[in-house]
């Protein structure tokens, strides 16, 4: 266990240090969610006038919940890019040779993804509050939203870690990001689920990301819905993607 923690801590520190020290890595992960927040909350605020759209805290808060979870997922995705870059540069292979407990590498990258996202989450929360976002939920409910973000970040980071370790090239970027992007956007992003119609309603209804999004919106509005379901789905997702990441690591070990 001590060796696991030792490796995880070293990898996490390096991951966070690289993010903070390199503006080219840090800025996209900060700027992208901010622009999504501006584009959705600002550009689409008229959508709140669609008949039967009821969300007490307003459209900025409605979109904040999505952008918050999206930034969590993309914190994991960006970490996947960094892992792929480590393989391209040869660093990851040296890491595999020297790490006394290799599963600690996955944990380290996951902690690094969490550290990266916490910074982004702080920035977009401040931006949303400055933009006049109304928060109705109490302290406990807001902690619940952060918990949902942590779960989302973990699932995405483990997914990205697995893909990056299986493919071991920066060209894996599209494959890391596309499924995450598509799953998130197949949730009720712009309007509540009941206002969607056609195939998108069917898909959104069975999409696991929908539960997390609705739970986050409910917590923000002070009227929690589907919270237990959302956490259960995220926990299940984390278990599956952890197994996926472990297999990716095994593949990288075999490749040498």
């Amino acid at each position: 266990m001590r060796r696991f923690v030792y490796v995880a801590r070293a990898v996490a520190w390096r991951s966070i240090h690289n993010t903070l020290a390199n503006p080219a890595i840090l800025l996209p992960s900060l700027i992208f969610p901010l622009f999504f927040l501006a584009a959705f909350a600002g550009g689409l605020s008229k959508v709140a006038e669609v008949p039967n759209f009821h969300y007490a805290p307003g459209y900025t808060a409605f979109q904040f919940a999505f952008v918050f979870l999206q930034s969590a997922a993309f914190g994991g995705v960006f970490t996947g890019f960094a892992i792929a870059r480590d393989f391209d540069s040869g660093f990851a292979r040296r890491l595999l040779l020297t790490a006394p407990r290799r599963s600690g590498i996955i944990a380290g990258y996951a902690v690094g993804a969490l550290g990266r996202w916490l910074l982004t989450a702080t920035v977009i929360t401040v931006a949303a509050l400055l933009a006049g976002m109304d928060v109705v939920g109490n302290g406990g409910e807001l902690v619940g939203i952060v918990g949902l973000g942590v779960g989302m970040n973990l699932v995405a980071a483990l997914w990205a870690c697995g893909v990056a370790m299986f493919l071991r090239t920066e060209q894996a970027g599209a494959l890391i990001q596309m499924p995450v992007f598509v799953v998130l956007f197949l949730a009720p992003v712009y309007v509540p689920l009941n206002l969607l119609s056609g195939w998108i309603h069917t898909v959104a209804r069975i999409n696991p990301a929908t539960a997390a999004l609705e739970a986050a919106r409910g917590l923000l509005a002070g009227s929690p819905v589907k919270v237990a379901l959302a956490f259960a789905l995220l926990a299940g997702g984390a278990l599956i993607t952890a197994a996926w990441a472990r297999r990716g690591l095994a593949s990288a070990e075999r490749a040498g």
């Binding site: 080219a24 992208f32 600002g42 550009g43 060209q171 596309m178 009720p188 712009y190 969607l196």
Partner: protein, 281 residues
Amino acid sequence: MSSTSGRPALAGAGSLAAAPALRSPSLFEQVGAIARRSVVRTFRQRALLVFPLLFPLILFAINGSALSAARKIPGFPDVSYRDFALAVPFLQGALFVAITAGTDLARDIQSGFFDRLALTPLRGSALLAGQLGGAVVVACVQSLVYLFVGIASGVGIASGFGGALVLLALSILIAFGFAGLGSLLALRFGTGEAVQGFFPLLFVTVFLSSSSLPRNLIKTDWFKEVATYNPVSYLIEGIRSLIITGWDGEALALGFGFALALSVLTLGFAGAAMKNRLVRT
């Protein structure tokens, strides 16, 4: 850049390499040789082709359905949201063309191929125009695919068959302008990483435009202001007018005007950057 070296003008550049050694290739031949290489290289990188093609279509499919409720906003044009949204993939595709064109040129600079070309009698303008050949072909393919997918998904083109042809012409001109921008970035910075680093910034220009709602329905003042000053709004509205309105002279004039201005400006600056780089070489 003398043309009397007597060496093959472009080693490894297809038919031009086999040209008579003493005949100086015409500008057209020079452009053709570089363009052919650019096209072949672009189509060999299938992974780079598929993602730019699919990504805008996926967003179109999702947003076209997910935002269909926006039709109920008072004042929204009397068309389906899918009709309204079809213009956006053309713009997103053009952004990908910019990045592909810029990254390819940057790779030539980084690998030293550009320096070797600079030692041949090839003119700088031919090199730039040829490099954009691959980008234009990709733009043609993308535009056709977006149009066919749109029509197949039930979008009607209000301006008819002629309007569809004008739409293709406008979208290719827009892509050409953005490809010029990609080339300019490659020539100025010389690395593919720098070119790709600009992608989020370019992508944001689409978000901060009238891509999701008509400008008169944007409620937030600052956003409306930004969208009004953002040329991308007029590029999108030019394409959109052909799909949902019919023949709208003002929207088309603005769309073609901004697309032409983008092409002239980016190619002008890229040409200057090319000369600068050739001098440094």
